[in-house]
Symmetry: C2
Subunit: 332 residues, 2 copies
């Protein structure tokens, strides 16, 4: 029997769990395209999802995220001194569908070809433009599909420019922020944002000048940041140096990720993070579904009249949406 029909998520999930990569690819495509099928996929996946651990890898364009991700995957699969090989690793590369970054992304995908012959590795680029609930919701859904298919480690690679991408990276269990030597000014200027999401820092391209200064900048930032008051207080982000092009430091990164996982699990912070993440996901989905309900009211002659009134300055946008909501006074 071949891969089940495109339209049957239940059968696709069963096939994906048996190792059918084409079925897995179809499920993620259904998530990407959203629409009526997204719910069917969620229903099929929900009860069988496993307990995958997710690692977000983010950083500015050119930081070497994809090469680093590839090196990390190889290390995870091969095993390290004190860690058994991981049976199944998945990479979700979140493509912000930018008109500007495609060249680099295409190049990255080619590099990921290193794992093309490894049946324990699944790599998927997600084009999320147009997904109804946005990048973050699509990523959560796709991660759940991979989890159900038996991938116990899922790496989420995002280009860290823009709030949306940071949301996605921050939704992982462990978030790795990749910087390069010489990024001191950028680090200083963005202390708050970095501290908010980073569990680990990687100084990639550590064979270039300026590593010591970058490490000092990061350490200074960590030093100055007020001790947080929640249960994650005991964790101080590690700083790992890597040369991803030659896989240098990948073992240290893998060890640091496992140490952070252990910290989260033993402190109870992992459960807390996952509650927060599911809360965010439910809120996004609720907002999306509310919007689907209301969309009908933004089409047709009555809407066109309101729109023209706004264009002609006879109504402000709030007053126009009052009309669409059928009320004027139940919100701020």
């Amino acid at each position: 029997m071949g891969t089940p029909a495109r339209s049957d998520p239940q059968a696709l999930v069963a096939a994906a769990r048996e190792g059918d990569r084409a079925a897995l690819a179809r499920l993620i495509s259904l998530v990407e395209s959203a629409g009526a099928q997204a719910r069917a996929v969620a229903e099929a996946v929900g009860p069988v999802a496993g307990d995958a651990y997710t690692v977000g890898i983010t950083g500015a364009p050119g930081a070497g995220k994809s090469t680093l991700t590839s090196a990390l995957v190889a290390t995870m699969r091969a095993g390290a001194l004190d860690a058994a090989p991981i049976e199944r690793v998945a990479v979700l590369a979140i493509d912000p569908s930018s008109p500007f970054t495609g060249g680099a992304i295409l190049g990255d995908r080619v590099r990921m070809g290193d794992h093309a012959l490894d049946a324990g590795v699944y790599i998927r680029s997600m084009a999320t433009r147009g997904h109804l609930g946005g990048l973050a919701l699509a990523t959560a859904e796709a991660a759940r599909v991979l989890d159900a298919a038996g991938y116990s480690w899922i790496l989420l690679e995002t280009v860290g420019v823009g709030q949306v991408e940071v949301d996605v990276a921050g939704a992982a269990d462990t978030t790795v922020v990749v910087v390069n030597p010489g990024w001191g000014d950028a680090v200083q200027a963005n202390k708050a944002g970095l501290m908010e999401i980073a569990d680990l820092f990687v100084i990639n391209k550590a064979d270039r000048p300026g590593v010591a200064e970058t490490r000092r900048d990061l350490e200074q930032m960590l030093e100055l940041s007020a001790p947080p008051g929640d249960s994650e207080a005991a964790w101080r982000p590690a700083i790992v140096e890597t040369v991803a092009t030659s896989a240098g430091g990948a073992g240290e990164l893998w060890a640091a990720v496992r140490r952070h996982r252990h910290h989260l699990e033993s402190s109870g912070a992992l459960a807390q993070r996952r509650r927060r993440r599911v809360t965010d996901e439910l809120r996004r989905l609720l907002a999306t579904r509310l919007w689907l309900r209301a969309r009908g009211s933004t089409e047709g002659p009555a809407f066109d009249a309101l729109r023209d009134a706004v264009l002609d300055r006879r109504l402000d946008p709030w007053a126009a949406t009052d009309e669409l909501l059928g009320t004027a006074d139940d919100e701020p």
Copy 2:
């Protein structure tokens, strides 16, 4: 009398129209912070808004957008051979609040200091993290404030990485996409996205090698793109070469922007674009207000129970939001 109190948008609008820059700054801060004041600002601004023309300037980090914007502003203010000086020009620099781009943005803002003594130029960086309706809605609101304050030309400068930023740039009357020599591969890989938003291309840093190839790549892309079927069919994006650091080409860019404006006005396409833009804005605002209404249902013990059911795989996220919506069958 000094600038009116922070809490009175009506008085702030009146003052801003008289040239009070502190009042203008306060109004935009109210838009940024959103919340209860955003509506009051929209109501105060709505009836007095003018007829500003907006130009979006977007491109990848490092393309030289800020320097180019600054050179364009100087040209607009000085006037050109066949164009009178523009009395009031505003620049809204949309900061995606990234943890990675701050260094560059800080540098850009310093460069914009060229216009610090020109009372006809207003430059404002917008930190839109946390705005309820997102970047696009905040930008539309801020542009309306600037319009009401008498700025007849508004330049929207965005870092073009990510769908949100492209949405913002694409919401302008004329959208300028800035590339650099040597970006051929990136251009090729992103034909669709570029064609969708670009009215004009600028090859900035045109004193570097590779200009001819980049121009050829852009021209080839324009050549191959199918002729669109709508009323804007007659426009073929111009390609302008600039060296923004020495203001080279700024006059040509200004002329190209005016040619595009003339094309849009004479073809009726401008009205069509603005109808589309207000439609988008009303939809975003409606979605935001619906979300504000529903947010209360995502807090408290009943919500926590649903969240835990999703965490434990007893419910999928769709079924959980069914409960929150009080229905299961009125949507796809």
